[in-house]
Amino acid sequence: MKKTIQTTACFHCGDACRSDSIRLGEHVFCCEGCKTVYQILEQNALCQYYTMDDKAGLKMDKPLSPGKYAFLDNPELSAPLFQFKKETTARVQFFIPEMHCASCIWLLERLYKLLPGVMESRVNFDRKEVAIQFNPEEVSIRQLVEKLSALGYEPSLNANREEKKDSKALLYRLGVAGFCAGNIMLFSFPEYLGMDTQSKEDFASVFQWLNVSLSLPVMFFAAQPFFIQAWKGLKHRNLNIDFPLALGISALFIRSIFEVVFHWGPGFFDSLSALVFFLLIGRWLQDRAYESLSFDRDFKSYFPLAVEVISEEETNMESAYVAIGALKVNQCIRVRNQELVPADSLLLDGKAYIDYSFVNGESEIEEMPVGSMIHAGGRQVGGAINLRVARPVSESYLSALWNQEEKMEGEERIKTFSDLVGRYFTIALVLIALATLLYWLPINPYKAFYAFTAVLIVACPCVLVVAAPFAFGNAMRWLAKKGIYLKNPDTVEKVARVDEVVFDKTGTLTEGSAHIEELYGVLNSADKTRLGELFTQSSHPVSRMMARYFSASAASNPISIKEFTGKGFEANYLGDTWRIGSRKWLVGQVGDIVSSSVCIEKNAKLVAEFSINWKFRSDLDDLFLDWELPRSLYSGDHASSREILERWFEKEAIHFECSPEMKLEVLKEKRESGHFPMMVGDGLNDAGALKEAWLGVAITEDVHAFTPACDVIMVGKSIHELPNFVRFCRNTLKTVKFSFLFSLVYNLVWMTFAVRGELQPILAALLMPISSITVFSINTLGIRYFARKEAIQ
């Protein structure tokens, strides 16, 4: 028996189908899930979905467990999801991470055709949200969520999503600042044209007082964020970038008020309000860039929102879903395959194989005996287990661990280039301004104040506030178009520092699929179904591929499974003992087979063997042949494909039969020796190494398979872009550095005038936005240029 990879694309999701057995009419599908979605759409005459975008459908190979959303039937648990609820109308808003194209919008806004009771659904594409208004008497929120999930748009139900209020407040501030700045400028015309002072004294004072009143909302409403941020920084004994801004704005304001009150002159209200207006525009752009690029990495979203609580009596196996926050000590809970343990708990029964990779980065699966303590954050691999909660969720060991990491990250952030420059720049600026003030004070108090303000304003570091995040955010946007997703804008800077690359082989350099051949086997069709179900239990790339080979669906019966890292796994399923793994483990000798193979033992008898020919990605020549960074390969496999790999790697740089721990060690050593290694690997199995590396790049065939440990997620078919990606990030950083240098020189030149008291603050306020605009343009144009150059567009 031999199966070759079909070139037929799945009609729903567009992926290559491994067989053409799943079909409906003339359309072929890659899996049952995709077929089901197509059927739903067909029955409701919504097939236009497929004509709107090439890759409209979402791959549906992960079947939904039937009881997953049962907790939504509990009104107490579903209540936080509602924005509004009455007897016949209710409104919910879901965050749907999978939303990605025009077809998604089209289908989601036609939800009312699929589900009677839905009145209206509106999509916000930037925020990947859909707001649904429905009649709760006709359709329950559970049905709603399940329908969305069945279509592939599984909503993410973490209730803690950030509200958009802040951005609205910023818009109000922007509007007010713009309004005041415009009008103040108008009333300053007499001063600009020099027609006021002697003849029209009365007009001049009217205009001045109008300006004073218009500047009040600017000071006390529009400019508030700068004062708040500066104050926050001061409280933490930290001079942040907002501090000189706040200082400059208040100096300007106080001085202007004095000028008007004591009839010294017209004040600088025009400069002040224009300054605040420009600064707010910068903030707003920055927020927008962040918002559309935010990688929703909220920790709580990994936790199941509710957990199944079972009653204690053996005979009475009733269960109910309880919100995690309401979980009490001594309650019994059940955790199923791939679910996370929500709180520190004692194992009551079931076979626990806990994967703590999420907690400590070690991807080893620990077997826990009954009665042992299982820590929160562990992920069960295998059948369902019953646990007794030992410590409430809030005190959990895991949240402490996570907070610790947050702190560490905070410290690390300060080291980034823009932060460093921003910090020293701010301190230097304040010192220079103070020195100027002190120097002039005995000579000419009027001039002293004048120069102080001018220095603070002309060297205003708002460019630094905006430029780097804007540039990096822009770079992220370009990269996302190529299928490269960064965790946050600072990652660009991390990438730019990478000086060597470590590769994993399986699933990274090889394609997600392989050529599977049955060497021999005595398997009937029931065996094959069961084998398929067994393979779905393991997340190793080989298992995933075998599951696909058997067209498996999720297991219907309890499986007790035990994985042996680097060898295989053992399972008891419906009375049979299966052992599945490498030939070396099961048979003892490697034999004469060149490729990797999977042996299958049923009740201690070898029943089948499959050869697996990993197919290397076709674009590896593009990836390696023209790339200067030193690179090495660490593979868990045995040395079957060494000859092929020597084309791309130095002989000494190829290492086989490495356990995940060895990879982790290697990266640790590299980092300790002062290098910045980038690890490129499969997110699920190399999680530890990805975390240990300076930069972890997870290669995935399916972007939605979530990988907590990495910094970058890259779609498998974009792997040949890696050299371009690194070069692009380096050039982005160079652009940012250049623009900083530019603004530094510019500021220094004008500062020399300001320090000598020769620069009027109004001129300073005009010069400042010019420098900002120039820096903005340098960044935007530079990054666009480099994106084109590296063909990232």
Binding site: Q43, A45, Q48, A102, F125, D126, Y172, F203, V206
Partner: protein, 61 residues
């Protein structure tokens, strides 16, 4: 020249009107989402839901 004060009053009232209009537009959510409407306008079937694949419509609906 006193008339200029009246003119200034008028212009301020007008400007405040625009400011209020802007605040209202933000409040009513007009600026919340600037991307989706651009896609939404491309849907051609605003009326009946009958789409390009009409044979299916005939048989099922």
């Amino acid at each position: 020249m006193k008339i200029i004060l009246l003119l200034i009053g008028c212009s301020l009232v007008l400007a405040v009107g625009f400011l209020i209009a802007f605040i209202w537009s933000v409040k009513s959510g007009q600026i919340d989402d600037t991307t989706t409407p651009a896609y939404r306008i491309l849907d051609d079937d605003g009326t009946t839901g009958l789409s390009s694949d009409e044979p299916l419509v005939d048989s099922k609906s």
